[in-house]
Each structure stands twice: as C-alpha cells, then as structure tokens.
C-alpha cells in the first residue's frame, strides 16, 4: 500500500518534469535555452519514471523480479550518464555550427527601419570574435 503510493508519487513527479521539459522545448526562444530545458528535465523525469517502475516491481518480492529490478537500475544508471553526455555533444555541435542565439535585439527583428541596432541584429556574439 505504501509502496503503491510511492510509485504514484514518483510517476507523477516524473510526469511533472516531463511536462516542464516539453514546455521548455516548445516555448523557449533559443537553441541554447532549449538544450538547457531538455538536458535536465529529460534525465530527471526518466529517472523518476524508471524508479517508480522499480518500486512497483519490488512489490512482489522474488528472484525474477529482483533480477529485472537490477537490470532497470542499470538502465537508470546508464541514462544518468549517457543523457548529459548526449546533451553535451549536441550543444557542442550547435556551438560549432554557430547557431544564432537569442539577444534582446533579435526580438525586434521584425521592425524595419531601426537602423542604429541593425548591426547587432544578424547573429550573436561569440568568443572567437574577440580575438580579432
């Protein structure tokens, strides 16, 4: 009974984090902020979901369910390492791809005739630009 409530709490918090991830991926204005939303929420919500499944499997305690729970624990461990690594690879590729990022002036891109800000509008600022 208590284990069931724990399963429900874990799954609902995982769903909450996944909703936050989805809202971030859809609504954020910028590639980098989208990666920020996806990299954290995705890992944590997956951990919560699989942790709830592990608790559910441990409800009827036997050798088989223990083996399955161990495998699930391995998957959780793997995702906890692999998902931030994949996120890092994606953001590295995006940085080298020079994906333009959100600035305050890029919200005003639609207004024409704003000549004093025009040179700031096209793309973002990168550390390589400082080297001259």
């Amino acid at each position: 009974m208590i284990l069931d409530i724990l399963v429900i709490i874990a799954m609902l918090s995982g769903l909450l984090f996944f909703v936050a991830t989805t809202v971030g991926i859809i609504r954020f204005p910028d590639f980098y902020s989208r990666v920020h939303a996806a990299g954290k929420g995705d890992t944590l919500s997956t951990t919560f979901f699989l942790g709830g499944t592990i608790l559910y499997l441990l409800r009827d305690f036997s050798g088989d369910s223990l083996l399955t729970a161990g495998k699930l624990l391995l998957i959780v461990f793997y995702i906890f390492i692999a998902s931030p690594t994949a996120t890092h690879a994606i953001i590295d590729a995006g940085y080298e791809f020079r994906v333009p990022y959100w600035t305050r002036s890029s919200t005003y891109k639609g207004t024409e005739g704003d000549e004093e800000n025009e040179e700031n509008m096209d793309d973002g600022f990168y550390p390589e630009d400082l080297k001259g």
């Binding site: 009974m1 069931d4 399963v7 429900i8 799954m11 995982g14 769903l15 996944f18 909703v19 991830t21 989805t22 991926i25 859809i26 590639f31 989208r34 990666v35 996806a38 995705d42 890992t43 997956t46 979901f49 699989l50 499944t53 559910y56 499997l57 088989d64 083996l67 399955t68 495998k71 699930l72 391995l74 998957i75 793997y78 995702i79 692999a82 998902s83 690594t85 994949a86 996120t87 690879a89 994606i90 590295d92 590729a93 995006g94 080298e96 791809f97 020079r98 994906v99």
Partner: protein, 126 residues
Amino acid sequence: MNLEPFFIAMAVAILFLMLCNLYRVVAGPTVIDRMLGMNVIGTKTTVLIVLIGVIDGRVDLFIDITLAYALLNFITTLAAARFYQRLAQPVPHEPRESLMAPSAGPEVEDADAPEAAADQDRKETP
C-alpha cells in the same frame, strides 16, 4: 491496489507529450534543434517500452529491448552531433604549438616543412 489503469494513463500522457515534442522536430529552425527533439523522444521511448512491459505483465522480456534502445539512441545522437560538428569546420584542425612536446621540435619542423608551405598556399588562395 490495482495500478494498471494508472500505468495506462501514464503511458498515454507520455505519448501525448512526445507528440508535443515532435513539433520541435518538424518545425525546428536548425538541424540541431531537430536532433535535440529526437533525443528527448528517444529517451522517453525507453520509459514507454518499460511501461508497456509492466502493463503486459512481462517486464523481464521488454527490459532487454529497453536496454538496446537506450544504447542505440545514445549512439545515434552522438553520431549525428559529431557529424554536424565536423561539417561546421571545413578546415581540419591544425596542431597547436603550445600542445606539442618540446622534444619533438626540430624533427617535426623538418618533416612538416613542405606541408607547412602547402598550408600557407592554401590559406592565401581564398
């Protein structure tokens, strides 16, 4: 307590949110955005497979599929990210002198002299 309806509701909710993430894959302004959306969808697919196994009552069968899918998703994302990273830099990296061992100095210079001249030419042509 019978948790099966709860698991079915969770699976449907995850599926719906995955469809919402598919918007970013379809409408993403750059390729990297699409990759990001597909990474999230793939990670959630592992959860979905485990939930299907729990609903079906055969988790021990589905767990191996989940493991394989997680590995495959990670490798796919890494390969695509590396591909677009290499695509972004048309000129290959030159070795930085500060990173080279000082003992390898004169030999490497002699051996690389024609190459360095060719490098110079290639730089000046554009």
